[in-house]
């Protein structure tokens, strides 16, 4: 129960950072390559034993609340649900030989920095790519969409690692 409340609070904090800080930063023409999506961190770090169907529905609700703020109904829902769905396949790809501990959150301490970087970057890449593809909604500039999501993945990854260092050090 307390874990659940913690996750909700974490999501609200990320939501506030996303819409009040990151979405407000204006870099002129670089905005195209600087619009990282970080609220997906909740889906990324939640422990592997979490019920899959609840995860999908949780992703749907989170995406909806972001959509309300960003006034892009459906866009964030779709990309976040996709991230939640592909998570279990990526977890099975990068898991160590004896598997993850099912009840422990995935972060830089519990699964190690390098493994977390690989895992988080794949997840973020899916999130960004899905998001920008749906936003553009045509395939003739696929390489630009790809480069754009690559840039933003790097920025979001840097942010997430920083965020984890700041919040996990206390323990």
């Amino acid at each position: 129960m307390i874990e659940g409340v913690k996750k909700v609070v974490l999501f609200l904090i990320l939501l506030l950072i996303q819409i009040l800080l990151i979405d407000q930063i204006d870099l002129g023409s670089f905005n195209y390559y600087f619009s990282p999506i970080i609220y997906g961190l909740v889906i990324i770090i939640i422990y592997p034993g979490f019920d899959f169907r609840y995860l999908l529905i949780a992703a749907f609700i989170m995406g909806l609340s972001v959509d309300i703020f960003r006034n892009t109904l459906g866009l964030n829902i779709s990309s976040l649900v996709a991230v939640a769905y592909f998570r279990k396949y990526i977890l099975s790809i990068i898991s160590p030989r004896d598997g993850f501990e099912l009840n422990k959150d995935l972060n830089i301490i519990s699964i190690g920095l390098s493994r977390f970087l690989i895992y988080a970057s794949i997840m973020l890449m899916i999130h960004h790519f899905w998001f920008y593809l749906l936003e553009d909604f045509h395939f003739n500039q696929l390489h630009i969409v790809f480069i754009r999501s690559l840039f933003n993945t790097c920025i979001a990854l840097a942010f997430i690692v920083l965020f984890q260092y700041l919040t996990l050090r206390k323990k």
Binding site: F60, G74, S78, A82
Partner: protein
Amino acid sequence: MRNIIRLIQKYSNLLLFLLLQVIALFLLFSWRNSYHHTIYLSASNNVVGFLYKTNNDILEYFKLEEINDELKAENSKLKQSLYNYVDSTQIHLAFQGLLDEQQFIVRPANVISSQFKQRENYLVIDKGKKDSVVSNMGIVGTKGVIGIVLNSSTNYASILPIINSNFQLAIRHRRSKSFGMLLWDEKNNWKTAVVEDVPEYVKVHNGDIFESSGAAGIFPAGILIGKVIKTEKIPASQFQRVYLNLYEDFSSLSTAYVVDNKYQHEILIIKDKSND
């Protein structure tokens, strides 16, 4: 039948995923321009609007300086058009091209140092020769006349304000248009000033307004200076003394406008000739 149920059970995760995606895409493509979308958003507006407004209230503080500068620039433009205003008695001159519409040029400035407790108070503004501010230009504040430019360096200029015992300016009574001489000494505090040489026959009431006369060519006519609080007859003379409450608050000056009269040198030449 059992096979179908088993199939659904087997792929339930995928089906849930597809269902959610279909809902999301349905929202994205069909609801976006519909009536329900606006209803839904306006219903959620209270929370969202509150959050964005709070955020904006906080961020506004950091933009205040920029906004101030913009407002100052706009104000100086408005003041300039006001000072160059052509009334109906002169409109025929304007049509004939005899009247220069831009006689007065107004530039915004910041007061960066001010005194109001001494006998000889001086102000400094952050505009100088670089912004073509030279001596004898007028300085107008947000509410009324501040003073006259005394000296200017490259980037700064010193101002002789009304509240300096060396200050003198011919001003006029707004209602009767009769002239007087605006003076100040330390017996008055920074709120008040004196007008000397007002003829006795001019009826000055408390609350009457004194304004700039435009005679010296420093200020355009009609800028507010002060309100009458007291009049006093000088015994054995034809004049009365008028005490003014100044419009401009000299204890908290921050914005000033430099008024540049293009034809001021002509007025000075004529005055010199008539003195000879």
